[in-house]
Amino acid sequence: MSLIRLATISSLAYLLPLTLWLTAQLELNDWAAARVTTLFDQAVHITLIAQIIGVILLFFKPIEGSRQNDISAVALVLFFPLPLLTLSWLSGSLEIIPITLGSLMVALTGLTAFGIRQGLSHILPNPAIREGMIGALLIAQLILLWQFRQAWWGWTGL
């Protein structure tokens, strides 16, 4: 499976249930209620966390395609929830700068994961040790971002 296809599937895997949950909440609650803002706000937070998980997942397995494909895959994870983020801005839940900074955080995470895989591929020749090490570092990166989510949410203004 190509990296772009993996990016599409992982994005659909969170965005489909998230959209189902969001629209069900909106239909059950009054559309004009102040809850709309809260719902979109929650949806954006969930989206960013899911994007980070998705972008790290891309680099768990060895890269098979070209570098252009890798970048396209990261860009796809980044762009996939754009309609939802647009709606959240239109509803007044979030302004453009926090959304941009949040997406920037996802992009940086992707680049870091990409860097880890590329760097260790050159340093460690033994495939077993290399994949183990890359896996451990990516999981550590994921745990760190999860543990300190309040800090970077605060920094981005989310």
Binding site: S72, P83, T86
Partner: protein, 462 residues
């Protein structure tokens, strides 16, 4: 100023200004409605006394700031005492005041405000929390024109007026222009009669207008299908294209295109909608009118609406100091500006009084409703709600009668469903559409959904 206020109700304040030179000034009033700016012209050494309708904040505070072109500002804050009880205004001969206060306090569930005739409200908003007025003919005669007009509007809105030893001709004359067929204007001889009279008259008052939330139901019950369609349509396209495209990198264009489509559709000048609700009992002149102005709601963007100052405007929610209600003195207009968000409309409540709209009688003859046009103009077609069914009421010429013959339908519109829920099974009610511009404040860009409601009373006649 009455010194007391009921949370959520309007009252008024008086502001007196003098200036050593002729100048323009901005008077800003910050209350529960946010900030209202009045642009004023002050003349040299001339005293200017102005009365403004206000809605105090929860703690009763109101801040008034005067700004002159030299950027000098003068700020004054006042705090009113809150009361949960409706207010009774008492203005009678000084000798009787002490006794009357004692009598009223023991028997009536209301907050009593003693005042002289000069203290009577000058604006309709001043009567926002006032339920009854107890006064004498001397005090009434001493009222200024604006005070008389405000009192007239209070009475037209089915306010209670008790007059000390007034003749029946005076009561009848006052009752002609009052709401509820003038039944709520009475004379009394002894102070001891007042508590019982107030209790009787309170029972005759029409039911309160529906709460704002109920009114909001009329415009927000429509599901917004566009958003689920937009999101799920996008996901479906994404799935289809990912399996069809030979160059998957082209997939990147779809989220960008979809986001741009969302922006085009939902960004721009916010829409506006006006919902009116008027309810009249017993075929009287319309006593009260309430309207809600929604700005935005289905779009994000800047919105400006203009109304004549005949309207009483109250912001219901989204108090933003950045979006003031602005009134221009020179052309008697309110400018309401707001930055609105998708699905989060800014709501204003507009209160006003409209006299003599269509007149109907609704009679239940052996349980069968009979409608008659008792006015002088042809009435518009409307709906009759009876026994959980809705019937098409045709346009009626003066004195024409009508009764339902065909089988009714299930209530379909939000207004019909809402009213149907509020009716007991054997009661009947008429829903008469109020045309755009009725009340004189709907701009041409405003879509209006207004209904005059006439319900049968327990006696079977309305």
């Amino acid at each position: 100023m009455l010194g007391k206020f009921q949370p959520g109700a309007t009252t008024e304040i008086g502001v007196e200004l003098t200036s050593p030179q002729a100048t323009r000034a901005d008077l800003s009033i910050s209350d529960a409605n946010g900030r209202t700016i009045h642009h004023l012209q002050l003349n040299e050494h001339a005293r200017k006394k102005l009365w403004f309708g206000i809605k105090p904040k929860k703690d009763g505070s109101v801040t008034v700031t005067l700004t002159v072109p030299s950027k000098k500002t003068l700020t004054h804050s006042i705090t009113l005492t809150a009361t949960r009880l409706p207010i009774t205004l008492v203005s009678i001969a000084p000798g009787q005041r002490k006794r009357s206060t004692a009598q009223l306090k023991t028997a009536e569930e209301s907050a009593i405000v003693m005042l002289s005739s000069a203290g009577f409200p000058h604006t309709t908003q001043g009567y926002g929390a006032v339920q009854s007025v107890i006064t004498d003919l001397e005090s009434l005669a001493a009222l200024e024109q604006r005070q008389s007009e405000a009192l007239g509007q209070f009475l037209a809105g089915c306010g209670i007026l008790l007059l000390d030893k007034a003749s029946s001709s005076v009561i009848e004359r006052l009752g002609r222009s009052a709401g509820c067929a003038g039944q709520l204007i009475r004379s009394y001889d002894q102070l001891s009669e007042i508590p019982q009279l107030l209790q009787q008259l309170d029972e005759l008052r029409p039911p309160r207008l529906p709460e704002s939330k109920t009114l909001a139901l009329l415009t927000t019950s429509q599901p917004h299908l566009a958003v689920p369609l937009y999101l799920f349509g996008y996901l479906l396209l994404m799935v289809l294209l990912s399996s069809l495209l030979k160059r998957p990198a082209l997939l990147l264009a779809l989220p960008l295109l979809t986001a741009a489509t969302g922006l085009v559709v939902w960004y721009g000048t916010g829409g506006q909608q006006l919902t009116l609700w008027a309810e009249a009992e017993t075929g009287d002149p319309i006593a009260r009118l309430a309207a809600i102005q929604y700005s935005g709601g289905d779009r994000r963007g800047f919105q400006e609406t203009t109304f004549t100052t005949d309207m009483v405007i109250t912001r219901l929610e989204d108090q933003q100091t950045s979006t003031p209600i602005e009134r221009r003195e020179e052309n008697d207009l309110y400018h309401l500006t707001s930055d609105t968000m998708l699905f989060e409309p800014v709501r204003y409540r507009l209160d006003g009084i409209v006299r003599q709209p269509h007149r109907f009688s609704l009679l239940l003859d052996n349980g069968q409703p009979i409608v008659r046009n008792t006015g002088t103009d042809t009435t518009p077609a409307g709906r009759l709600l009876w026994k959980r069914h809705s019937y098409a009421l045709p346009a009626l010429s003066p004195d024409e009668t009508w009764h339902p013959e065909l089988q009714g339908e299930r209530p379909s519109t939000p207004a019909e469903r809402l009213l149907s829920r509020r009716l007991s099974f054997n009661s009947a009610a008429l829903l008469i559409p109020i045309s755009q511009g009725w009340g004189g404040f709907a701009s041409s860009a405003t879509s209006t959904t207004g209904w005059l409601v006439i319900r049968s009373s327990t006696g079977g006649r309305s």
